[in-house]
């Protein structure tokens, strides 16, 4: 039952972690990693989001059904983005529109 009460110290550590990660992601943006920049930014953002969901939103102590609901949402978001890439990734970069070329 999500009536779990987390200690204040946990909230503060999570808060500090999120702030540090914000700094890290901004710092990482100044390092030229080429294609990896986007990946690093998304991994950090994903990790921050997991922290918020897990601890601030008590999903860690919630019922299996709540965890399943969160997973379903992310799964269908992955379907949306993934199958978009099937089309936009495989299309040879569409010819530059005539008036732009």
């Amino acid at each position: 039952m999500s009536g779990h009460i987390s200690p204040i110290s946990l909230y503060l550590t999570i808060f500090m972690a999120l702030m540090v990660l914000t700094g890290v992601t901004v710092g990482a943006a100044f390092v030229d990693l080429g294609q990896l920049n986007f990946l690093v930014a998304m991994i950090i953002a994903g990790f921050k989001a997991t922290l918020v969901i897990w601890y601030f939103m008590h999903v860690k102590y919630a019922s299996k059904l709540t965890k399943l609901t969160v997973a379903t949402g992310l799964f269908f978001l992955a379907i949306l983005l993934g199958l978009f890439l099937v089309d936009y990734g495989s299309k040879a970069f569409s010819q530059m529109p005539p008036f732009l070329s």
């Binding site: 503060l12 914000t22 901004v26 930014a41 921050k48 939103m57 379903t72 949306l80 890439l85």
Partner: protein, 267 residues
């Protein structure tokens, strides 16, 4: 509130006095609470996919016109973006504290934390107003005599009294003038394709801001209810639901910040 109801329920044994907030079609408070949490998460599911559509459009155009996204992203002020992220994470903390105080039946603490969360939310919206004003001033709003200057130096909008020395990145006043590397799009192509970036920027941040305003509105009601003492350790669901919603809005910004502000900051 409705009077305390005690009645023998169908299994024949007298039932403890129902909590006044227990609705007739639920058997126990636990079942009602669990239904509310799952219901809220199903609603957040729809929000995930609601913003997901925008992220899909962002992903497509970032693949097609990366240079336009890079140049346009540079024109955003990293200082204000970083500050806003810190403000919103702070408001997530204060919201979590508010929920915790509601759980432990500390009425005045709950009210104070909720007020602090609303203040931080308003600060966030204020910073957005500043950023939008800057965009209007530089004619970066598509459909409103949009002018894309060649390589727009990202001004840091002056020192600006940073509320609290959070360790946002140093305000970046990058080299003005010529672009940082050879671009695949020439000037008039940039004039067109950066409009797509800014269309997405305004739609995403505008939608996020609307969700913030709704969140603050709900929080006003919840603060008033908390002030009236409607919550205790058995029934604090509205506070927790507002908390879930607020944390979700924070998560959306956690993704929006790197996607919009940090497309390509290295030189």
């Amino acid at each position: 509130m409705s009077n305390v109801v005690a009645h023998a329920d169908d299994h024949g044994h007298a039932h403890a006095a129902h909590h006044p907030a227990l609705q007739h079609h639920f058997d126990t408070m636990a079942q009602q609470k669990e239904a509310a949490v799952v219901g809220m998460w199903v609603f957040l599911l729809t929000e995930i996919l609601f913003f997901g559509g925008l992220f899909a459009a962002y992903m497509v155009y970032r693949i097609w016109y990366f240079d336009a996204f890079a140049e346009a992203s540079r024109s955003l002020s990293l200082f204000w973006g970083g500050l806003n992220t810190a403000v919103l994470i702070g408001s997530s903390l204060t919201m979590a504290m508010a929920v915790r105080c509601a759980q432990t039946n500390k009425r005045s603490a709950t009210v104070n934390w909720l007020i602090l969360t609303m203040i931080l939310g308003t600060v966030f919206l204020g910073v957005k107003v500043i950023e939008y004003a800057d965009k209007f001033e530089h004619h970066h709003v598509p459909g409103y005599n949009y002018q894309w200057a060649a390589a727009h130096p990202s001004t840091s909008l002056g020192a600006g009294e940073a509320a609290g020395a959070e360790h946002a990145a140093p305000s970046t006043a990058l080299g003005a003038g010529e672009p940082h590397r050879e671009l695949s799009l020439n000037a008039d192509q940039l004039q067109l394709t950066t409009q797509i970036y800014f269309s997405l920027y305004f739609t995403m941040t505008g939608l996020h801001a609307i969700h913030m305003i709704i969140g603050i509105g709900i929080m006003l009601v919840i603060t008033w209810m908390a002030y009236k003492g409607r919550f205790d350790e058995q029934y604090y669901t509205p506070v927790e639901m507002t908390g879930l919603y607020w944390h979700f809005v924070d998560i959306v910004w956690i993704f929006l910040f790197p996607l919009l502000y940090l497309v390509e900051r290295h030189v």
